[in-house]
Point group: D3
């Protein structure tokens, strides 16, 4: 199995609902360093998993829908906690929508919220 990963980042404000979150129930924020991994059993005719230039642009566009925002104000997240895990899935699902039918076998999205904590979501495509 081959994979290619590209890294970008995202800066947001949000708060989390639930006692388990302690002080993170207050409005605060995060930088997420985002690693998007594209998987493919065999390489294409150019010898690649994905066009890394296009993948970078798509990832930037997906992150641009979320970044420099207070996620508490976004209607699409009204019903969910925007935890690192949950945001990893949102980003992976949006990438999956844009790369369907191109021969990829799976995606992993990892969001690093600090030097000591990160979360991933992995899915087939």
């Amino acid at each position: 199995m081959f994979s290619v990963t590209i890294r970008d980042h995202l800066m947001i404000a949000h708060s989390l609902r639930g006692e388990v979150f302690g002080p993170a129930q207050r409005l605060h924020g995060a930088t997420y360093v985002v690693d998007a991994t594209f998987r493919r059993e065999t390489l294409d005719a150019d010898g690649i998993v994905v066009d890394i230039g296009r993948a970078g642009e798509v990832l930037r566009a997906v992150l641009g829908e979320l970044g420099y925002r207070n996620l508490d104000d976004e209607a699409e997240f009204a019903e969910m906690n925007t935890t690192t895990e949950a945001l990893a899935r949102v980003i992976a699902d949006r990438l999956a929508d844009r790369f369907r039918g191109e021969g990829l076998d799976g995606l992993v999205v990892t969001l690093h919220e600090s030097h000591v904590a990160w979360a991933s979501y992995e899915r087939p495509l």
Copy 2:
């Protein structure tokens, strides 16, 4: 599949038995930068894999049983080489004992012994 990883560290002295270890047969030591990864198919009601605050405390407690010690003097390791691989399993198994029955699907523990070498142990839960 979702995962959450937290990082902490551990400093120990030890020696390794066997010619394959060369100069590491002498008493020396290591810092292990420890990544503990918790896996779960679906998020819980709070939208998380694990309570990251509690996970950090449990990891710190598990590492506290090992750290700032000469592992050659610990009775529990009398019968084994405390290689990076073997210690990754010890830590993963102890974490597994403390997180059983909480809906987790697996654990991975990675110990970085330097900027150029690391070892992991992965297990279901």
Copy 3:
């Protein structure tokens, strides 16, 4: 010259005033991975620059005054932009207040706002 550096982190929400900040004029947030460097010409009687345990606690306390907050709501920052550079100085000055008279010669505080951008403030003590 000797130095010792310790790393911790901080998660905040804020917005920045001024056209130069583009989309960062909206309420968003950041994780700052914070490196605090303590400098000293000669080591003390224990052979150290600073008690690293105490330094870590003081740094955590200083960051605790800022973290998990929306800095736009804090009266102390009403008159200033909470840029990465400016926050580096706030943290360095607060550390300086707590380490005065202990033989240190200088401090540097670096705030990493992502994997591609960071800012520092360096001062004598």
Copy 4:
């Protein structure tokens, strides 16, 4: 499952054929920071996945066949694009040839081409 990873690096010149590569169609070059991961279900009698000293020497030898060269001039690559993905497979296959019959269950080779892009190839052994 256990794994051990060792890191080394490789510096090469090459060009890539195909419009998808844009400016990388010109002769340029790369440093690849190479992570070679060795996997094994159970540890051997010494408590290790692989002799890390020997693994490092074999990895260095494999990289030495490629490094400080213009890959465009190497006959073995005349028919293929030497993309990061493809080189990860070349290195993994060469490592596999040298570690067959030693109880390993799999190999992963990851080539980091910059701080924002890397590629892997994973195979059984």
Copy 5:
């Protein structure tokens, strides 16, 4: 003293002249992960050292003049070895030309050629 650093990268082919370079006398290449540090005694009216958006564009433009090229073919480098140290100076001097008269006090450019080697050039402005 304040500073702001931004990171980007550059991929080139080249060879080095002189026995001291051993196998690097052959045509090969490198990825340089480039850190450009801007220094300033006091912050400007916006509370910043430099407009980080513009700094990133200028750095990208400067790197774009060098990247995806064989430096052995560039007339401007005919008389010099394009060592990591020397390229750090070339980039720092070009950045200095574009940031003169904007209140900056100094520049540092660091080129990481691998995970185990990097070089810097520091200059006033």
Copy 6:
């Protein structure tokens, strides 16, 4: 001012004397990831600060005198605490002895003892 840095590592056992060290008064150990920085005002005739191949060999030799040992048993350290700061100086002074008279202007040695703590010693040459 130019500089070149190379990275290597060192694994030792030791204990520290003094209440300030808490549990580190017990015999334990550390991996130190060592960065040796060589400074020079102007480049030499080859366009370099130092022959990086030779510098790497000298650094490895210096680290080889310390590594895979229990520093508590080494006569040369009987009168001192082998703190990270103090070891940075030992290594810098030994490097200085071997690079005297070669046109270098200074040295910095940084020892990373974990992902959250490091110490440096800087000296002229």
